[in-house]
């Protein structure tokens, strides 16, 4: 029983992380039809911003050494700035292209960012230690002990989700963003400023990426120039399985993928454990074979005939 509780919390924690990531992808997809292959690299850069640019193996914390509140704000600000600059310099010019072209653009951006990191910080992984207290355990009950960070991730996710929902439902810009996500041209014809709405989506997406970079680095303790790629893949999978174009779908997809991933880790026999990710993908493919449009249906997913 205790083992089950720990697994559940673990599943919720991983699911929350993937939900946040899928949201970051989903926000940009719904407004711009962009699958952002650079999202993982935004997270990577958020992580590398913590340390002094050098190729030393043991990293010297720069921003990472500041007071927690300042550090969090600084990292989030840096990633948001990166996202917004990416929009204005890169994505804005290909806005009229097909989603496929925009995908390659983001892939190019992501790859370039990765190699810029290598250029500045070197290609070897580095150790980083932030919020060491969070990696400790907390005793929930007699037999149940979980990592504090797992609870933090779940809490942070839900705070952000609620904030996002309130923003989208209650604020003027939020409603405009929902309208633009559904029918961009019509929204513009009613006077909604397309550029601002998209820039705002990048701000939100970048903000989520910034927070995730802090959570991710706290958990893994390692910085690696390619670290954003595998997690970004999971975000994509979550978006696809949840239903593309739907933010609710992104969250549902994120939790689904997280839960499946943790459950598989728990039940897979020893030899196959390394292939856990492959099993997740196979399961996802099976689900998609049965329901190709994903779990939550939106207008975006359906074709206009």
């Amino acid at each position: 029983m205790d083992y089950i509780i720990q697994t559940v919390i673990s599943a919720l924690s991983v699911g929350s992380f993937y939900a946040l990531g899928a949201l970051g992808i989903g926000l940009l997809f719904s407004v711009l039809r962009l699958i952002n292959f650079a999202h993982g690299d935004f997270i990577t850069i958020g992580g590398f911003a913590l340390i002094v640019p050098s190729s030393a193996v043991v990293a010297t914390v720069a921003i990472g050494g500041l007071h927690p509140a300042i550090m969090i704000v600084a990292i989030v600000a840096i990633v948001v700035a990166l996202a917004v600059i990416s929009y204005f310099i890169v994505f804005q010019h290909s806005q009229t292209s097909s989603p496929a072209t925009m995908m390659i653009v983001s892939f190019a951006l992501g790859y370039t960012l990765q190699n810029l990191v290598v250029m500045i910080y070197g290609g070897r992984p580095k150790a980083v230690n932030i919020f060491p207290s969070l990696t400790g355990q907390v005793q929930l009950s007699d037999g149940v002990s979980v990592q504090i960070l797992q609870l933090v991730i779940i809490a942070v996710t839900w705070v952000l989700l609620i904030a996002l929902v309130l923003f989208l439902k209650r604020t003027r810009v939020g409603v405009q963003m929902r309208a633009a996500a559904e029918d961009f041209r019509m929204a513009r014809m009613l006077g909604v400023n397309g550029k601002n709405v998209i820039a705002l989506a990048f701000v939100l997406s970048g903000g989520l990426a910034g927070i995730m970079s802090i959570l991710f680095v706290t958990q893994t303790g390692v910085l690696n120039f390619r670290m954003g790629v595998p997690i970004m893949l999971f975000f994509f999978i979550a978006t696809v399985i949840g239903g593309m174009g739907s933010l609710v779908g992104a969250v549902v997809g994120g939790y689904s993928v997280g839960i499946v991933s943790v459950v598989l880790s728990a039940i897979l026999p020893e030899e196959l454990r390394g292939f856990r990710d492959a099993c997740v993908f196979i399961l996802v493919i099976v689900i998609l074979l049965v329901r190709p449009q994903g779990i939550v249906l939106t207008k975006a997913a359906k074709e206009r005939v």
């Binding site: 409603v175 559904e182 041209r185 014809m189 009613l190 006077g191 909604v192 400023n193």
Partner: protein
């Protein structure tokens, strides 16, 4: 002249969809553009809205050039468009849809007053205020998009095929509402219609567009017998040797 479209040519890639088309709309008028499918009527409205850019010609609104402006900027100048196919935001509820219309306005008090007024004009919208717009019937959606466009406080409203997909009695009501709006608010209207009968009944002035070119222009009163309109619409003279043949 409130709106003046001067000899615009609009291309879709290399295909000319409109060739030197001119339309004028005076303040307080109801002007209709009729024509068969593919004539370029929607293209004309899209060029006015700023969604399409004319390759030649000019569009003047109150004397100022608006061709080349973005769609948002055109909406901001006081032209509101209700495009073909209604385009409600299905994931937003009725109230949110209406409020999008107020995006360009800053005068909060007047916005609230207008909002209440729209709900009075369209009581069915007040009833369904919190319902998702996607669940409304066709006629209700048409009312919604007109109300939404009105909330931008436009000086001129362009409407593309208000009768599309609606039962005739609903279309009657839509037109009644539009004519009423002209009367009560002095709203100027530019309507694209496929049915020349309806257009002749509702409009002050009429334009007939065919194959991207303007064929006929005149006061509705002069064209009421329909003969000249039919000729321009189909492209042949009644009673001539071509009468009865399909026009291409």
């Amino acid at each position: 002249m409130l709106l003046e479209v001067k000899d615009i040519t609009v291309h879709y890639s290399r295909l000319p969809a409109l060739r030197e088309v001119s339309v004028t709309v005076n303040e307080g008028e109801i002007v209709c553009i009729v024509g068969p499918n593919g004539a370029g009527k929607s293209t004309t409205l899209l060029a006015i809205s700023g969604v399409l850019n004319p390759t030649h010609g000019e569009i003047l609104f109150d004397g100022d050039k608006i061709n080349g402006m973005s769609a948002e900027a055109v909406a901001r100048s006081g032209i509101s468009q209700v495009p073909e196919g209604r385009h409600v935001f299905t994931t937003l509820n009725v109230e949110e849809n209406l409020r999008i219309g107020t995006s360009i306005r800053k005068d909060r008090e007047n916005i609230e007053k207008d909002f209440k007024h729209i709900l009075e004009i369209f009581p069915v919208l007040a009833e369904r205020r919190k319902q998702a717009a996607g669940k409304l019937s066709g006629g209700e959606q048409q009312m919604l998009v007109i109300g939404r466009a009105l909330l931008t406080n436009p000086r001129i409203m362009t409407i593309d095929e208000p009768s599309l997909g609606l039962a005739p009695n609903l279309v009657d009501r839509v037109y009644e509402t539009l004519i009423d709006l002209r009367r009560s608010r002095g709203l100027t209207l530019l309507i694209v219609e496929q049915s020349s009968e309806r257009a002749l009944k509702a409009a002050d002035r009429l334009y007939v567009l065919r194959s991207g070119q303007m064929q006929l222009e005149g006061k509705a009163a002069d064209l009421r017998d329909g003969q000249k309109v039919r000729q321009a619409y189909f492209g042949f003279e009644e009673g001539s040797a071509d009468d009865g043949k399909v026009a291409f």
